[in-house]
């Protein structure tokens, strides 16, 4: 009798367990490791799992995710939610039919009202939303405030002021713009994007992006040649071209923090590490918008603008068996601004700033004034239509790769600016023929 009771109980446990297990859906999520994964786990994943009995997220940071994702999806064993290295990569996966259209979710959950319009629009391919952005960024001018104050320098607001200060600091034996690509060769596109937008102007870049202007036009040639002169002839970036190729990781930030460098054209992802780096030297940093590089007012859109950039996207595996649950997970991500900003604060607002429609009051107390100033001004300025375009967000894959890779041949003196831009136009035409040029929202 005792044995029979135990047997019945065991059977009941197994049956209840089996029924319970069937009710819980596990959504797998592959993500590029960011150094913030513990915080993501705690603030997003654990919070979600604790409040959803029937859906659990299995968050899996993957090393070399770009190399792993493609074969995984092809083999039909990929995760439900996938991290994508930008819109260009997303468009390739869309072309292969590996991503689920998210327009249905977007309509149901009102994502267009939650995300910044340009960031929402960047995820649209052929009229359908396929990805949502993970973080937004822009390019600014960081500077060593302590060195500026000691030398009585004003923050440059025009090209003349910027270049004369760069020359002055170079003459003093300092590095005007510490920067390098030793650990990430595509860093070249940061500079190319800045020079194209700030010299040729965002309107011209936009015209080229939508095919109404040739990449070989004189504005782009002059912008490319200006960068060539600054990086190769004058050695303003890193100290010399060879230094630029030798510096990587946090080297430029360390040079800026030590006073060896004075200014740095870089992305707002640098918010993450500047304060800790400067804390080691006791100096202060600050940032300012990058001024236009051309005095030709017709090419510019105002006193300054911000380049739009997204740092990675999230898409949904077309083969997912849990499309409804995935929608719930993604909407959780887009629905709590306070939670996302708390997560972003763990990175110094260098990452995980999902482009939601924040108000300045949404930012947690104690947020660095410099970070607040950026997000406030970015919203106001881009909202007024003064924005440019970064290559990793708005260029198709092949043209983007040619942009940052072949420019080194120009800097090495092995290719002319004209030939480089002709090749760029040819790559662009090839991407266009393959239907891979990204759709760009009309400028306001």
């Amino acid at each position: 009798m005792k044995r029979l009771s135990v047997l019945i109980l065991l059977t009941l446990f197994i049956l209840v367990g089996a029924v319970g297990a069937q009710d819980v859906v596990t959504v797998t999520w592959w993500m590029e490791p960011s150094g913030s994964d513990d915080h993501v786990q705690e603030l997003i994943i654990d919070a979600f799992n604790a409040t959803h009995d029937n859906i659990q997220i299995d968050y899996q940071p993957q090393e070399s995710i770009n190399d792993q994702l493609r074969p995984a999806l092809q083999a039909g064993v990929g995760p439900d939610i996938v991290w994508l290295a930008g819109n260009a990569a997303a468009s390739q996966y869309v072309a292969g039919g590996f991503l689920l259209p998210l327009t249905g979710y977007a309509d149901a959950y009102g994502w267009a009202d939650k995300l910044l319009p340009w960031a929402y629009g960047a995820g649209i391919v052929a009229g359908e939303l396929y990805s949502i952005p993970v973080t937004y960024e822009s390019m600014v001018l960081f500077y060593n405030k302590t060195v500026f104050e000691e030398n009585g320098w004003e923050v440059p607001t025009t090209a003349d002021e910027l270049w004369s200060l760069a020359q002055q600091t170079a003459d003093m034996g300092l590095v005007p713009f510490p920067y390098g690509n030793a650990t990430w060769q595509p860093s070249n596109e940061h500079l190319m994007g800045i020079y194209l937008n700030n010299y040729a102007g965002p309107d011209n870049v936009y015209a080229a992006l939508i095919g109404e202007k040739a990449w070989t036009d004189s504005e782009f040639a002059e912008a490319t040649d200006l960068l060539r002169e600054h990086i190769a002839d004058l050695g303003w970036f890193g100290g010399s071209l060879e230094d630029y190729y030798s510096l990587g990781g946090w080297d430029p930030a360390a040079m800026l923090a030590s006073g060896e460098g004075t200014m740095m054209m870089s992305g707002t992802w640098m918010f993450r590490g500047l304060s800790p780096t400067f804390a080691e030297t006791g100096m202060e940093w600050d940032w300012a918008p990058l001024p236009p590089f051309s005095e030709d007012a017709d090419m510019q859109v105002g006193p300054y603008s911000y380049d739009l950039a997204l740092g990675g996207n999230l898409g949904v595996n077309a083969a997912t068996e849990h499309p409804e649950e995935v929608g719930v997970v993604l909407d959780f991500l887009l629905s709590d601004k306070a939670r996302i900003l708390e997560l972003a604060s763990t990175t110094g607002f260098g990452e995980w700033v999902i482009p939601l429609r924040y108000e300045i009051d949404d930012f947690p107390p104690g947020t660095d004034e410099r970070v607040l100033r950026f997000h406030s001004d970015f919203a106001a300025t881009t909202g007024a239509g003064r924005y440019g375009y970064t290559a990793w967000t708005f260029w198709p894959a092949r043209a983007n790769q040619q942009l940052w890779e072949a420019i080194e041949l120009v800097w090495a003196g092995e290719m002319s600016v004209e030939e480089y831009l002709e090749n760029h136009a040819a790559e662009w035409a090839q991407d266009e023929a393959d239907g891979l040029v990204l759709s760009i929202l009309p400028r306001e």
Partner: protein, 303 residues
Amino acid sequence: MAFKIDSRVGVTTAYRWRQILSNYVFLAPVVALNLIVIVIPSLTSIYISMTKWSGLNQPEFIGLANFDRLINDPIYWKSLSHNVIWTIFFLTIPVFMGLMGAFLLSGIKRFQMLYRVAFFIPYVIASVVNTELWRTLLHPRHGIGAWLAKQGIEGFDIRVFGSKHTALYGVAFVDSWHFWGFLVIVYLAAMYQVQPDLYEVAILEGASRFQRFRHVTVPGIRPTLVFTLLMIMIWSVPAFDYIYLLTDGGPAHASEVLGTYLYNMSFFRFEVGYAAAIGVTMALITACIVAIFVILRRRGWEI
């Protein structure tokens, strides 16, 4: 008698068949494995090399267009030339160092094991660790050269990986630093197989240490030496990790090799068809190297 012979023949034939069958049964797993991981992917690669394919969309058959593009691609030829330089570098410097190290090591009795371990350690350290170590040591701002410059010793603060003139050789140096200890151990093991009598005779004949090395050691370890040369030539074709980690083929393709070029084509540009064409040429080059060795051996070369 005839019956016995027939019987014996019958038994022998059955035995032979069983043996042949059992051989194939034992071979089957390896054959199946090679089919799955070598033959099928190789044939697939050949097909992909004749397609335009992003790795994600439907492959479009384009015949030999990718190979035609290769012929006119200056970066491909530049990469190939770097593979040749890489091969020559590894056939000379690490081999010379390996031979010298092994020969010198064979002459000492005390602490030999300690030296062996010391030489071999870099070989077992992950390439990521090795490259980070040397990137730090050769860093233009806080590496050895910069430190020496601060002490007033100029001339060593060069940007090894940042200069298009030195990047390839700098990476090859780092890779050979990790590799030559392996050659030392291999050559040392081979040297212990050389008959001691030969050295004794050479000493009696008044041969110097170098002459003993030249005329006794080298001929004595020739099969091992040739084998390592063959392997170096084969391994140099898909050279990738140290270059990818230290320079990613830059600056300005100055250290680009076929492996890094193929990788960038596949994973940055989504041109998997073209990358497969590069891969096919790499396989052909490797096949040519092996074929040359086989032909030379058949012609009587002692290799």
